[in-house]
Symmetry: C2
Subunit: 348 residues, 2 copies
């Protein structure tokens, strides 16, 4: 597939710039996707800026990909040309280890192949993501997307969606549970929508009182301002689950007294946190982590969204606006996810 | 009960000094215990030195108490004069809250009454502990001790024992589980004994290779030196459970890769720890806390010890040696628990 148009970062100082490269030929079990939309995840910025010290340039970010199938390999079973599909954070895994056997490809013992920035087993170099006109992916890592939903607002479900859906499901959240969603951003706004749709009593926990009205519009039943010690004390020992979506280093100790005995706060942001074990010991409380979700669960999440009419709140941009979008994401100035209309790149 | 002889600390600078005070009269459901032995817990030192800022002087420490019943109240049902009994870290709770109803008195919503240093509901002031000739306790917080075991070595089971037994039981550790005990001290040496008796494969994880032989004598099947990165890597993703008994601030991140997916490290030391959520996110790993155990579970632990012939490894001291013992505990120079022979106080 020569001359796939894309936007790539070339070194840690650059923002994204136009880029052309070859995608791999469509293999027997591959599908070729014409990308229509791609969400802008904070991880894209970390990778473009090499914040995690693992970026190999040039890198094309993007792992919230929606498009239509343009071609299929001879042995593709589940998809046909024209199907509306998605690709999330992974494009391959070993398929054989105990994690893969348990539909937890994100914890593949050989290491999952991330959609961008992982060693590319077929083409060499590193995999290149969705800020691009096309992508070629093995069908086992392709998700089916309902035609019922607003397609462009589905894109962020592939990362922000599954990242928040998976822990809520894994900890069996439902009717009768009081759930706190900490932080209202790209992840948090999806956490509110999912927890409400699952039947839980949802409390948005935020440092920003001005976000309260929007949290309620999204489905929160109550808003708790975490800097208000009196209100925090009123909610002590009352939560069945806390989903902490804060993406930066912070003190998690003030949240722990909110949990009932034996209950869990899940962290989905990869960041150092301050912890005093005293806050776990009193009440036998738990902290856990969660990373996206397996392919089977991601499909389940997309089906749940179609059933409950759930999509992301998005702000559309053209590919040419990406550098401004990056700057606004870094200032948390987006409600709640930028999505690139890839038509703008095709016309460029 | 006038003139109970005891050792008390008077202010944050003092070590313990002789002290005489009145215990409460024996109430209807109380038992009066002639104390024979009392273990020396690191918490005693924290309280004597007011390290946690909550000490009201004078304070008599001691919550690993073994003795014989000297008198019983009119309505005492389960004990008679002469019975060998123990008292641990708690002497009362509300009996009615949801935690108490679930036999988790340590998490009583009204706050448990600690054996020493809690507001004394009957006498006023604060409760006074077991570095003493006598104690009067409601029978519902008294434990039955088997005559089969070495009595003086039973004392530390009341705190160090239940603190390590409870998490192993709560997380259902048994045959087929690979368990790591982190830190070999008063708590760690009990963790090794219990985990081995429960049928687990036990690995002592320590920074001190010289402790290896003793760990194996106590029941560990293997010793892993946590500063050896190569050996740590060999054990990656292999543990079903980690019990972290380290009582001082430390970096817990290096231990997390040892756990299998979805598995837990329990912290029993009340201390700040360094945590990067990345180490929880990859593998959906858990950290939890655990605090002693309820009265029912403490009795179960003592019965388990009688059945499996488990006691602490102790070093006996006289009451008059307590200040030297405190200094040695602070240097971790004891294998593995000091126990005071209270006869020495009675004769003083």
């Amino acid at each position: 597939m020569p001359n796939t148009q894309a936007y790539a970062a070339y070194n840690a100082k650059d923002h994204l710039k136009p880029y052309a490269f070859d995608r791999r030929a469509v293999g027997e079990t591959d599908v070729q996707i014409d990308i229509e939309y791609c969400g802008v995840c904070h991880s894209d910025i970390h990778f473009a800026h090499n914040d995690w010290g693992m970026t190999e340039y040039p890198i094309v970010p993007g792992h919230e990909i929606i498009g239509r199938i343009k071609a299929v390999g001879d042995k593709v079973k589940n998809y046909k040309v024209g199907d509306l599909v998605g690709v999330g954070c992974m494009v391959d895994s070993c398929h054989t280890c105990s994690s893969c056997q348990k539909d937890l490809e994100q914890f593949c013992e050989q290491g999952m192949t991330m959609t961008y920035g992982s060693p590319d087993k077929i083409m060499g170099g590193v995999t290149q993501g969705g800020y691009s006109t096309q992508i070629v992916v093995d069908e086992s890592f392709v998700l089916r997307v309902s035609e019922k939903l607003d397609t462009k607002a589905v894109a962020p479900l592939l990362c922000a969606g599954i990242t928040t859906y998976s822990p809520l499901r894994n900890w069996n959240i439902g009717k009768g549970d009081k759930v706190g969603i900490i932080g209202l951003g790209g992840l948090g706004h999806m956490g509110v929508k999912f927890a409400a749709a699952m039947g839980a009593e949802v409390v948005m926990i935020t440092t920003s009182p001005e976000k309260g009205a929007d949290a309620k519009r999204l489905g929160a039943h109550e808003v708790l301002v975490s800097t208000n010690e009196e209100d925090m004390a009123k909610h002590a020992n009352s939560f069945d689950f806390l989903l902490n979506t804060v993406p930066v280093a912070h003190d998690i100790n003030p949240y722990m007294p909110l949990l009932k005995i034996d209950k869990t706060m899940v962290l989905v942001g990869a960041t150092p946190v301050d912890l005093n074990s005293m806050n776990l010991i009193f009440g036998r409380k738990h902290i856990a982590g969660s990373l996206i979700g397996g392919i089977k669960e991601t499909q389940e999440m997309l089906d749940f969204c179609a059933e409950h009419n759930i999509v992301s709140d998005v702000e559309m941009i053209n590919m040419q606006d990406i550098n401004t979008a990056f700057e606004r994401v870094m200032k948390a100035d987006v409600k709640y996810r930028f999505v690139i209309d890839m038509q703008s790149l095709k016309q460029a």
